[in-house]
Amino acid sequence: MDIAFGKEQEDFRDRTRQFLQAVLPPGWGTSRHPYPQTAKEEEELGMWWERTLWEHGYAGLSWPQNYGGQGLTWLEQVIFSEECARVNAPVGVNGLGKGLLGPTLLVEGTEAQKRRFIPPLLAGEEIWCQGYSEPNAGSDLASLTTRAERVGEEWVVTGQKIWTSYAHLADWCFVLARTDASAPKHRGITFLLVPMHQAGVKVEPLRQLTGEAHFNSVTFDGARTALENVVGQVNDGWRVANTILSFERGTWIVGRHAQYMREMDALLQAARDLPGTGGSAAQDSYFRQRLMALWSEIEVLRFHGYQVITQLQTKSQLGPEASMLKLYYSEMHKRFGELAMEVLGSHMPFSEGLESVGAGLLHRAFLGSRAETIFAGTSEIQRNVIAERVLGLPKDDRH
């Protein structure tokens, strides 16, 4: 057992820290910094961040150099993710392009697709959104009804997708569409790349309970894309979409740990400032117990991260462990948000302004975490996956 990265990686970490310090405004990462307040400001920042990463050679760290990547390993990606989380670096607007579409193309795409799409993706010149979920196809994604028909040399796409983050900024959408209605539900789906800037595409914002509107509903009403914009084979899109590039998730875990620990530090500071039953909350044994229980859970996420990194050195991808990690961090983060609000006590309702504690960071965790147990597979689905695929319990044929 040896819990350390190699020297090469640690050098990369140093360079990354220097880079982050150099490009981020002074005071960034502290609770006093004036962070973007509106969705528009956040998006502008996200766009700037995409370009900045590209300019400084931090886009596509583990991707091949011939498509614009940096040709490093996912270890560097892990470190980069951790360092970004540590300083609360901005979130780019092309996360789905980089996290899902790019890796999918690298494995399943044609040479021409890779050359066409990956360089502008990494450069932040083309933003991607994801067209998977539909109003009636959430957890049961395979029952999607958006359809694509071949008309001449084009695909014509019709249907509604929802929960498409950043669709209003996107240039392209990767879409799962039904191309053979007579096939069983997991067959007959095709993975298509569809340009967003055309008449047949309508984007409407979906406001979230946080009050922000990062999600959208996207309606394809006879939207068109060229015949060659199919990834993989026609009718084989379900498999393509499930080409589990879950080592991406592995690299995210370490970043998540850093993010959660940053939130925990803010919470501990709040607990020192706020009253408990006698003395500060930080002196109150009830809150001390709960804080340390959650602090432990966050640290355990770090250990899970080490485990993932260790596994990925021999296996090239994660299997159903990804479900375990997703269930772990999403449920934990939800509990963290609730604990944070309990520590805030009577200050809890004041998410902004005069009485706000921790510059709203804790409130964002509280509200935002409610999404984490729902999207990308609800906790209920993750538990099914674990029970059936990891523990071998008998499958229920209904899902």
């Binding site: 979920s133 009636n136 959430g138 957890s139 049961d140 029952s143 929802i162 929960w163 979906l206 406001r207 979230q208 309970l209 009050g211 009253p275 408990g276 039953t277 009830y286 809150f287 609730e338 609000m341 309990e342 805030l344 006590g345 009577s346 200050h347 809890m348 309702p349 004041f350 998410s351 902004e352 302004g353 005069l354 009485e355 706000s356 409130h363 409610r370 999404a371 147990t373 729902i374 999207f375 609800t378 906790s379 209920e380 538990r383 209904r398 899902h399």
Partner: protein, 373 residues
Amino acid sequence: MEFDYTKEQYLMQGSVSRFFQEVAGPAAARGCYAEGAQFAHSIAPRLAAQGVLGAAATPELGGSQLTFLDFALIFEAAGQMLLPYPLMENYVATDLLMRFGSEEQKAWYLPRLAGGEILASVAWGSPARPWSGEGVQALLSEGSLRLHGRRTFIPFATVADVLVVPIQSKSIAGTLVGLVDAHQPGVEVMPLKSLDGSYPLDLVELRDVELKPEAQIWPGEPVWDWACQVGRTALALEALGAAERIFAQTLDYVKVREQFGYPVGRFQAVKHAAADDYLLLESARVASRYAAWCVSEDRPEAGLYSALAKAYASDMARRVTGDAIQLHGGTGFTWDGDAHLYFKRAWRIASQLGTAPEMRELMAQLVIDGRTA
């Protein structure tokens, strides 16, 4: 042995519920999120016309002399419909005047509170410690009391006309409760950005505000303790109402929402979450009913059981409304879904007038340490 509301009380709830569905409900709550506290003004006349304002007052004073038990189901209905009006504060102010006010105070305030002409709020919070009476000091200056300090957590303070404020006075060595005119010079209301936009909470700073003798209620301590007990029980009932309403909507949703070829409500994970939530709901129902009885009957254990009901119901409501988001899936996370309105209300209620841990600490002092209430 009759541990239930009367048929008349249920009938009244039914009619008020239908009325609340018109003036309040999720759409109105969203309206209040957008417009702010001003929204309360727009519905005040209709609330008055329906007779839900000033309810504790005698008929001569514009009320209908309802006991807390009579009104308990109305609080529940207000919770169900996310009423964007400080109804609990109106009830507390009214009943407080009936019990502790002078004849002059009753005669002036009660008809106006019952008629919705003035909006009353209660300055529940102290910046230092929640719901304690600290924060505002009265100084005796040239024979008149002058108030200094701040209180927070005051519902709808930006549109309130009168504020019920606990006041400490070192110079006279006592506590009183003041009926502070919110439009007086020196009263500065600072709106806070509050999570539950359908029930805004504000901060009020008092700078050398005169409090005339006719606005004073002495001694203040029993009055304030009583107000806290009534307030907590009403909040427990509101939390119950909020939770049961969104729970019912959630049940409706999981019965029709299909995934994997079946209504999701057929999956055991959903069933068991619903069963657990139901158990919590029904338990909060009997807990708040018992507290309502204690408060209504002026039982000595009202302090203990109003704390129990507040803690239990707010724990329950946070869990049930949170589960409602989860069981609604993606829809639960949208602004246009109702779940988050109830969720935020449940959390706001939980933070008000003492959190669940604070309530349990209060109980522990009585039960474990054997202090007397």
